[in-house]
């Protein structure tokens, strides 16, 4: 077992452990922090797959943007643990777990039957920011523009959705 393999197993185990932490922790803030570590471990795995640009994007967009957004919302609307509230269909998690095991078995079977040729260690030099930039801004320029429009529309939509109703007084005016 070489170094790359040991590294992959360590990072993968941490990634799975934090994913389980996101799902199982009772407090929403803990879930968000587990999610942060999970995204960081995935960024490390992207680097091992020669996707350095996407690793940086992962850290900036997910760890820097999305997790912070989720944390802000948790702090805005509070995070009282819900599941502890008496007998809310307690069988649902077990049904979810059973369906998950079924899905995992199906996916594992598909993956193990797939004919994957062993890869050439120096085949892929791609994924560095320069190469990704050329790829994105030459062949895929339309996609970049579409992503820009999508993000703009999402921004306006989020603003419209989350604003206060007009008849409700702002809490700041009461101060």
């Amino acid at each position: 077992m070489d170094f790359a393999m040991i590294f992959f197993i360590l990072v993968g185990a941490l990634s799975v452990a934090t994913a389980v932490g996101v799902v199982t922790s009772k407090v929403a803030v803990h879930s968000a922090l587990f999610l942060l570590v999970h995204f960081a471990t995935l960024a490390i795995l992207y680097v091992t797959l020669n996707a350095q640009f996407l690793a940086a994007t992962q850290i900036i967009v997910y760890a820097g943007g999305i997790v912070i957004l989720i944390l802000f919302v948790i702090m805005l609307i509070g995070s009282a643990p819900l599941e502890t509230r008496a007998g809310y269909r307690s069988w649902v998690p077990y049904a979810g777990l059973a369906l998950g095991v079924l899905m995992l078995a199906g996916m594992a079977m598909t993956i193990l039957q797939m004919p994957l040729t062993p890869l050439d260690p120096n085949a892929n030099q791609g994924g560095a920011p320069i190469i990704m930039g050329i790829e994105l801004y030459s062949q895929n320029i339309l996609l970049v523009q579409l992503a820009a429009v999508l993000l703009l529309v999402a921004l306006i939509g989020a603003l419209l959705l989350a604003r206060r109703p007009k008849n409700e007084e702002s809490p700041i005016s009461n101060l």
């Binding site: 992207y46 797959l49 989720i70 895929n140 993000l151 989350a162």
Partner: protein, 100 residues
């Protein structure tokens, strides 16, 4: 060198954990986090295949998935806040405004 199938299996495990979270948890915020986790596991698959077939299109696609995920989480959280103003809960069982 780590075989690609190991990355695929790790990604399948993470996807399954996320799906179990979506099905099993009742807090809408944690459900959004689990959806993000599932999107990320698919990103890992795409990058592993981009490496396997020496083709950058997978990585370009991951870039687009990240843009869509950012938009999705922003709108999702905005809907959550709007509904929280209405009913003071994030329990997914109580969010049934459009159920008939």
């Amino acid at each position: 060198m780590v075989p690609t199938s190991y990355y695929l299996i790790l990604s399948a495990i993470i996807f399954t954990i996320g799906a179990v979270g979506v099905l099993g948890r009742r807090n809408a915020l944690i459900i959004i986090m689990c959806v993000e986790m599932m999107l990320n596991s698919v990103n890992l698959t795409l990058i592993a295949f981009a490496m396997q077939w020496n083709n950058l299109n997978g990585q370009v696609f991951v870039f687009m998935v990240m843009a869509v995920a950012a938009a999705e989480v922003a709108v999702g959280l905005a809907i959550l806040i709007a509904h929280f103003h209405l009913s003071k809960t994030t329990n997914i069982d109580d969010i049934n405004l459009m159920k008939w």
